[in-house]
Symmetry: none
Subunit: 364 residues, 2 copies
DNA sequence: AATTATTTGTGCGTATGTATC
DNA sequence: AGATACATACGCACAAATAAT
């Protein structure tokens, strides 16, 4: 112990003990000397020793067992006492997200956890805000759909902080590229889109336009599958037939460009879309232009959502597991919470979607 | 302060002081009596008083200033810019609740709020735990489906604490009886069940069994509508034809008693159920006993959920607005957050449900 | 099965230090 | 300077839980 500072005796003892713990001279689970023996050793009253110990108990370094002794906390597992899980998604109440979130809730609340729901609207600044927020609140774990996962993220520091605090996190739909080993559950977006395009080619389509989102990983991968399927089907990949949009112009650009394509009569016979939301908008656009689906143009969406089932012509779409995806993410997180080894050995789950054939494509 | 529990003195004092704070008898910023005067007042040693106070300081209820005094923490300030809303429901991911929660999320996240989701499993002790939890986190408001709303609640103190901190809250589905003026949105459960029974009477049914939940307000009101409809239809109300169950025995008692009814062949020609969950179980029971719905027994559920649509014979049910109910609750809360006058003038919204006629009832 | 030693938990008394008004 | 309030510190006694004898 130190020489004479002007610090209080209990405070110096507390610092000494904390140091012993941090330097692993007192190891997790190990018993610390009894109050009486510490008092004797450091020539203090038991009361003073108790004060020092109670501070460390409050900070979580130690815990006491009545009649047995005082022990060093194994704070790799310490987070267990928080039963709050942060869930950050791009959207919550729209599209397929309610179902994904329901799947997460199902599993987590069955296991006694509460959920802190936040949506970023795909805005990395909001993501940063919420990550900071959740770090301050004391959460046991995090499930996150990254915002703009294709772009470089400034939020990596927060994930490193989570690593530092041994707070496990699971990505869904995509993950920030720069993180080396992370747990995630996502779709094989390329394979899904490949199936859609392959199907159109089999039906005899020659000019397949594609609409893709440029600022998330899903969009890039779906585009990859599109290009690969064209190549394998011996069709030319024509950059001019591809529409790229982003979060900011998603409500206007896809339909505007497709309208232009149609007005130019450049001979497109089908369109594959980033998701059902876009597909549904394109369907409405085409209907408004008196272009018939599927007679004039075949159309395929992605995610097999209610949007592809509600239109007057049901839109063929690539499946999305929705609740199942949420459940898997939650189960992965639970495993990581149970066994801290999983923090080092990430669990990665890729689901291969299938094509759900409805009414929006016909043989050419 | 209380009488003699076997709790420790310091603990009882701590609870007493915490209660004073939660009930706003000690207001934020206000100075609490000095250690010596508390010791004198409660005939305790100063040391014991200090122990109680130090716990409350640790939990953040109080803070001390050396040489000046001990003060009540003002967590109002922090709350003002909080964009977090607590949502406590009995269940989250089952039955109609995902839709209700989705409605809440829709409105709140559109207005920039995050949601803290907790489910009580209809256990008032968990409700208490979560209410305390949310009071310590800084939430801007609360939407709550009360647990066991028919029974006397020990959790009223927390709602008074919310009042004291100007945190608005909205009840859904029911409300704790003892609170005088609260905002809520709920169904006219009596009217809904009345319509169901009236419909059965019109179809010529004479012996209508009823299954009701005894520990929430909805159950009592649905029973009320049942009894009133029988009376108006000049049928005898027979207590032996009524099954009461509670949260704890919901999975066993309703079907067991109905099985007994059937084995006794007491001439029941129809069953109205507290909700679709019960109705679905009864349907499966009857089918298992080779009793046909609706040929032998007519059956009506409540909530118009997927359960009443998924069975082989679609079950006639009383409608429930689900998302709409969630949206209304969220909108009420937003109004209360915007205009603090609403805290004094509660907004109460009662939705009258209708009967959704499907396939489970026929003319006798 | 009862006893005993050890350890933490509760509670009181006292004295002194130090910051605030 | 003095009164008041919280902070530190020591000592003592007994209660309650635990583990070993």
């Amino acid at each position: 112990m130190q020489k004479n500072d002007n610090k209080a005796k209990y405070y110096k003892l507390m610092e000494y003990l904390k140091d012993e713990i941090l330097m692993s001279r007192i190891k997790p689970g190990e018993q610390v000397p009894s109050e009486n023996s510490l008092a004797e050793e450091f020539l203090l009253s038991r009361h003073t020793v108790r004060k020092a110990i109670s501070m460390l108990v409050n900070e979580g370094y130690l815990y006491t067992e009545h009649g047995k002794g005082t022990y060093c906390t194994d704070w790799n597992r310490k987070r267990t006492n928080s039963k709050n899980i942060g869930v950050i998604t791009t959207y919550i109440s729209e599209y397929i997200f309610p179902k994904v979130v329901t799947g997460i809730e199902q599993v987590l609340s069955d296991n006694g956890y509460s959920i802190f729901l936040k949506n970023t609207n795909n805005n990395p600044l909001k993501e940063a805000l919420y990550l900071e927020d959740l770090l301050e609140n004391n959460i046991a774990g995090l499930i996150i759909e990254p915002s703009k996962s294709a772009l470089f993220s400034n939020n990596l520091q927060y994930f490193k902080a989570l690593d530092g605090h041994n707070i496990p996190y699971v990505f869904i739909h995509g993950y920030h590229q720069k993180l080396e080993a992370t747990s995630y559950v996502m779709l094989d977006d390329a394979a899904g889109m490949y199936k859609a395009v392959e199907y159109l080619i089999k039906l005899g389509h020659k000019r397949i336009a594609g609409i893709f989102k440029g600022d998330d990983m899903q969009g890039l991968n779906r585009h990859k599958g599109y290009a690969q399927a064209l190549f394998d089907g011996r069709l030319l990949y024509n950059p001019d037939d591809v529409v790229w949009f982003s979060t900011e112009d998603k409500d206007t650009k896809p339909t505007e460009v497709i309208r232009q394509f149609m007005e130019e009569k450049r001979g497109i016979d089908s369109v594959v879309c980033y998701n059902d939301d876009i597909a549904f908008r394109v369907f409405e656009l085409l209907t408004g232009m008196s272009i018939k689906v599927p007679e004039d143009i075949s159309l395929i969406g992605f995610d097999d959502s209610y949007l592809s089932a509600n239109s007057s012509v049901k839109i063929t779409s690539v499946s999305h597991p929705k609740e199942k995806l949420g459940e898997i993410a939650a189960q992965i997180l639970l495993q990581m919470l149970k066994d801290s080894n999983y923090l080092k050995n990430p669990i990665q789950n890729v689901i291969t979607p299938g094509l759900v054939i409805k009414e929006s494509c016909i043989q050419r």
